[in-house]
């Protein structure tokens, strides 16, 4: 079983696909910590649809789809930040409205796209085997910036994740951290769109963080476990996809779900919380 995998790995397109998939796992998994702890799962769908709509518009206007996807993602982040700070609109409603609006734009673009729709559909499922070195370099750069952001601003990130208002009152530049996070989400999603596809990104923006939430009370370990779960799900998913000859995106998503299910079943936190409830009941 190992030999054919080793042989496959000697081909540069497969090497690039594996590397891209692992980078996608790491970058989306780091973001999933924020998505899960700030309870904003819809941000993943909104951003993937922004990148998708941008890429379709790029195809229509004959611009590089990555660039137009990135621009629309960053615009979405720029709108989302100030609007979600308004007290008269609940952020989850706002994300719902943005998500459906962007989906509408994407389908409108698909409708009037005269060329073949295959290019646009590739954005949903990705096209790992046709990656260029430039695609890979963009993905690596975005992942590195995100990792540096987490390491350099860990103290501020913890304060903001805990409570944005308290972070602001303690003199933490919470708005800068929050907006930076939205922009980074946009950049990560648009960089990953053409490679692994919008559907996989959405899954990876929630599952690794949700897996880590079952396992630790320490935010540092939370980031590590989430990143490891993302990378592991992507790597193992690709191997499963090769061995069983199944679509890679589906294999990665199912592996990530399996990891979550295992973490949920064996969660020490759940047992501890149950124990606490029982103890309190007895009192």
């Amino acid at each position: 079983m190992i030999e054919p995998i080793v042989e496959a790995l000697s081909y540069p397109p497969i090497q690039r696909a594996l590397l891209a998939c692992l980078l996608c796992g790491a970058s989306c998994a780091l973001l999933s910590v924020f998505v899960v702890l700030m309870k904003m799962p819809l941000i993943g769908v909104s951003m993937s649809h922004a990148a998708f709509a941008g890429a379709v518009l790029g195809m229509l206007l004959d611009i590089n789809p990555f660039l137009s996807g990135l621009i629309l993602c960053l615009l979405t982040a720029a709108v989302l930040g100030p609007l979600s700070d308004r007290s008269d609109i609940a952020p989850e409603n706002l994300l719902g409205i943005l998500f459906s609006f962007l989906m509408g734009i994407a389908f409108l673009g698909m409708g009037i796209l005269t060329q073949t729709k295959a290019g646009a559909l590739n954005l949903m499922w990705g096209s790992l085997l046709t990656l260029s070195l430039a695609d890979l370099a963009v993905l690596a750069a975005v992942t590195a910036v995100l990792a540096a952001f987490v390491v350099l601003f860990f103290k501020e990130i913890r304060a903001v994740l805990f409570n944005r208002r308290l972070a602001a009152s303690a003199g933490v530049p919470e708005r800068v951290i929050y907006y930076a996070l939205l922009f980074l989400t946009g950049a990560v999603v648009s960089a990953n769109l053409a490679t692994v596809g919008g559907l996989l990104i959405f899954a990876l923006l929630v599952q690794p963080g949700a897996t880590a939430l079952q396992l630790t009370y320490n935010l540092k370990y939370f980031f590590w476990i989430s990143a490891a779960a993302g990378v592991f799900a992507c790597g193992l998913g690709l191997v499963f996809s090769y061995i069983f000859d199944i679509p890679s995106g589906a294999a990665v998503v199912l592996t990530a779900t399996l990891l979550f299910a295992l973490a949920f079943v064996f969660s020490p936190k759940r047992r501890l919380m149950k124990g606490n409830v029982l103890k309190n009941d007895r009192r």
Binding site: R158, A167, G171, T216, N218, F222
Partner: protein, 258 residues
């Protein structure tokens, strides 16, 4: 003469045509302990949000003699500590009581600096002062409401503010814990050099060191004076539109009603 920490001149807050606060004048000096009392919807929390820089307002607000809007510099924010009503936190959230206290120093330390050893020591000292040092490494979401409020007080004091804002810190706690938290607030007022604005709607649960009371009703200031005059039956009756009487026991004034 005591230095003035906070002054408000003709401050008003309007939201979607509703006037939440109007014509508020207020001056608070250093080390002064001021209670803000009023019925529900009087504008107490709105006033605290204006002072904390969470709410847009019209009129003038000066902190340490410097005019401020709702957008504050880091330096201005560091001077004002804030303790909200009991925080709801997911029991699975990855933060310990000690780490939650340390977030109070995150702004003061500045960017690119992990918490220093003396900040960590001070955080532990404050947890000890709040009688929750034994819970330092427990997940914050596993603590009871009262324990979380004590952690919240320690977090706000670690920030080393000159003005501490307490927004109904004893709300939703049972009576014994309310009393314990009030005693801790008294201890803070006695030991730390800071002014305190304490918002409550419960006039029977006031810290002993609180000597001055500001009363709000329908967004306007209706009383500003000493605690004895504030707790006179007729003043409270006018404030709450309900017949209230006061009586004294063990040198403390209590309020009763039918």
């Amino acid at each position: 003469m005591k230095r003035e920490i906070l002054t408000l001149n003709n401050v008003a807050v309007r939201k979607q045509k509703a006037l939440l606060l109007s014509g508020i004048d207020l001056a608070v000096s250093e080390n002064e302990f001021v209670g803000v009392i009023g019925p529900n919807g009087a504008g107490k929390t709105t006033l605290l949000n204006v002072v904390a820089g969470f709410e847009k307002f019209s009129g003038e607000l000066h902190l340490f003699g410097k005019a401020e809007t709702w957008r504050r510099s880091r330096r201005a924010r560091l001077c004002v500590g804030y303790v909200p009503q009991m925080l709801h936190i997911d029991p699975a959230f990855p933060i310990s009581a000690f780490e939650a206290v340390l977030t109070g120093a995150a702004g003061r330390a500045g960017l690119f600096r992990p918490p220093a050893a003396d900040e960590r020591r001070e955080a532990l000292r404050l947890l000890d002062m709040m009688r929750v040092a034994h819970l330092a490494h427990r997940p914050l979401g596993h603590l009871s409401g009262g324990e979380r409020q004590k952690v919240s007080l320690a977090r706000a004091i670690l920030q080393k503010p000159d003005l501490l804002l307490l927004d109904e810190p004893t709300a939703n706690l049972d009576i014994a814990v309310q009393k314990e938290v009030l005693n801790l607030i008294d201890e803070i007022a006695g030991r730390e050099a800071l002014a305190i604005l304490f918002v409550t709607h419960d006039f029977n649960l006031l810290p002993a060191r609180l000597r001055r009371v500001v009363m709000l009703k329908n967004g306007a200031k209706v009383f500003d004076g000493g605690i004895d005059a504030a707790l006179a039956g007729e003043t409270l009756t006018r404030l709450f539109d309900y017949p209230l009487e006061t009586f004294e026991r063990n040198g403390k004034r209590f309020v009763s009603y039918d």
